[in-house]
Symmetry: C2
Subunit: 409 residues, 2 copies
């Protein structure tokens, strides 16, 4: 199958591209290298020493004999070129990761809010518009987020996979319907994924575009069976206050004996998935497209659920590091419960990597191995969620790391 | 009250600006004159001879002694300037009409689809972002559309004003909630207003922006008590296939004895409002802002409901012109029923202008008076809703007008 991976140089995109290439698909990465450029602007680097895209692709071909194509392109900005790329490659499926994906970054300033909205909305809309214009019937596999739903909607009922069964009182009596689950995004980034949902639904309805939307939990882990083959294929590991997800940040902090920074009570309950399962889910989604004319298929791409403080406790126990509680800059409930329906991927054969299975590998092979590359000045989260005095006090810095690092292997 | 009217040179914006100025508010129009520029590109003109914005403002000041300010600005493109304008004027309220508002235009080509999404989303988001950055607590009154809801959701139940009471089965039993009404937009234009809803909701929740969203029906009528004072203040009247709304197009066709073009069966049921009521609703919305921290207030800004064929029959009866049925290029149900809840504006004292009261004025004072300005080549609707052979046959041209015009007064 010919597959374009938009954003194929990023954290999810790169291992997905390798996984799909390894599985025998003809893969072309489309990327503007924006994630690397944001690193430059934020003055941070991946903990792992990621190779350039050219070196990555050359290495993959050397090792496996498989060629992955590359198109340097900003799909949000250069529509004509996007159209040319679609006509040139005539893909059967398109995996769309080409969006700014960090919530804290999206709340950092007016500039980053506006970039996130402009980039993400136009990327998604340009893609759909170009598919219609070029009359290419490619299956669009879009990466959404569990954050589109928000938390605490309907008691302990598991969040359904995209569509919510509801009942409404009418003059004819109670009517039952299934509707897109109500949205309650917690950041500008999450908001853009709620906008994507509506754009995808419109093009599925009006133009028969086949769409799968994957509402993914927080991804953890770094390596897949492909990225681990050679250090030049290594996946990125973000730990800074903007792009580092909660589990990565804890692991990195543990590696340098820096107290684990839990914001608020740590009672935030979130859904997680290992990067190895992400790439398998993408493959399963590609193999199971919706029928033309149907509403988008929505999967909840999650495998485990934890409270943030339980994650911290687990890592503290394994690594013998302390925990610090800091005020929470985000506008979110201090405590929430969460149950998620993920039956669709399990029914398709996904066999998840659990935290208890994968955590020690991650500590040994990634965070401890590359701990010497950590810049401790990049650890605090600095994004303010809103302009209020209460929140301003909440962004004071984390305590400095202890000067001596304990590296465990 | 200091009020900015974004898009204040347009069809709704201009009479709103005059109405608010007449009511004693300090009004500043912010506009990039995009509506006039689109006229140039489409090679069409308003049926009514609209004056330039300078002449409009000068005339208003001459007649009434009241000054309306003007800022030439593209709020979707020039964020820095928008920020400056907000800081300079420190508005108490902002009426946001600065969006591309024609459904057929939004479906015309990839260019117009992309313009509509890029312009409308960034206009709304830039405004909210700039209010947060500048710390100006202005009440945002946004013009939405009834088209966000779609049709035929819940039997004969009236469409509620924005929020739908639902019941959901959970392990704790049935839970009742009120959620944003599900969206089912019929065009890219309508889709952008469903995106706006989510953006507005996020900024209301996260930053306490006070928002009123007005889901307006199809506006008909041309003049208000202010625009009728002098021909240089006249409001625009669009009749072309892109910007002409259904009632305007029927009236214009009747004025030149051109058969009224009903697309499909004419069984589409739609909600309507006279422009005189639009401007009153805006004033009522401004006078009744939501409390800071509340979800956006949503009004259904409609006063009457008709089937398209009933409108055609009514006008045919009054003007003695024939009706032609053409295939429908839109992706919509041939027939639908519609009931709308509009209690909030009625409770605030709105006393609607009905079609039976206003139709003859419109025929006599607008369409017949300016019938000599009609360019009959601009009458057919040419936008295709999708790329399918079935739809391509549906965009064949309307029959040519009879050569001799009957003008009635």
């Amino acid at each position: 199958m010919k597959i374009l991976v938009l954003g194929g140089d990023g954290f999810c995109g790169w291992p997905t591209s390798l996984h799909l290439s390894d599985a025998g698909h003809d893969v072309v990465i489309v990327d503007n290298l924006s994630r690397r450029q944001i690193d430059v602007l934020l003055e941070v680097e991946s903990l792992t020493p990621i190779a350039t895209i050219s070196e990555r692709l050359t290495t993959w071909q050397e090792l496996t004999g498989k060629k992955i194509g590359f198109e340097f392109l900003d799909i949000a900005q250069d529509y004509s070129q996007l159209l040319e790329v679609l006509k040139k490659h005539k893909p059967d499926a398109i995996v769309h990761f080409a969006e700014q994906r960090a919530a804290p970054y999206s709340m950092k300033s007016s500039l980053t809010k506006r970039y996130t909205v402009d980039n993400n909305v136009n990327a998604t809309h340009n893609l759909l518009c170009a598919l219609v214009e070029s009359n290419i019937d490619a299956h669009v596999v879009h990466l959404g987020t569990m954050g589109v739903y928000g938390y605490g909607w309907f008691g302990t009922a598991p969040i359904p996979e995209g569509y919510l069964p509801i009942k409404v009182n009418t003059p004819e009596g109670e009517i039952a319907r299934e509707v897109l689950h109500p949205a309650n995004p917690g950041s500008v980034y999450h908001m853009t994924k709620t906008l994507d949902q509506l754009i995808l639904a419109f093009y599925a309805k009006n133009d028969g575009v086949r769409v799968t939307d994957l509402h993914q939990g927080i991804v953890w882990g770094t390596q897949t069976p492909q990225t681990v083959l050679d250090e030049r294929l290594i996946n990125r590991f973000d730990y800074d206050g903007d792009y580092g997800t909660v589990l990565n940040r804890f692991l990195m902090q543990a590696a340098i004996d820096y107290p684990l920074t839990v914001h608020g009570t740590g009672g935030q309950t979130r859904a997680f998935i290992h990067i190895r399962d992400t790439v398998r889910c993408i493959e399963l989604a590609i193999a199971n497209p919706p029928i033309k004319g149907e509403r988008p298929t929505i999967f909840n791409q999650v495998t485990e659920i934890f409270k943030v403080r339980d994650l911290a406790n687990l890592i503290a126990k394994v690594t013998d590091v302390k925990i610090t509680n800091l005020p929470n800059p985000r506008q979110e409930a201090a405590e929430n419960e969460l149950a998620v329906d993920n039956q669709q991927f399990l029914a398709l054969g996904l066999n998840p990597t659990t935290l208890s299975q994968g955590l020690l590998d991650e500590v040994r092979d990634v965070t401890n191995k590359y701990a010497h590359r950590i810049d401790t000045s990049k650890i605090p989260a600095r994004s303010k969620w809103r302009n209020t005095p209460a929140t301003k006090t909440a962004v004071k810095q984390a305590p400095p790391a202890r000067s001596k690092r304990k590296i465990r292997t």
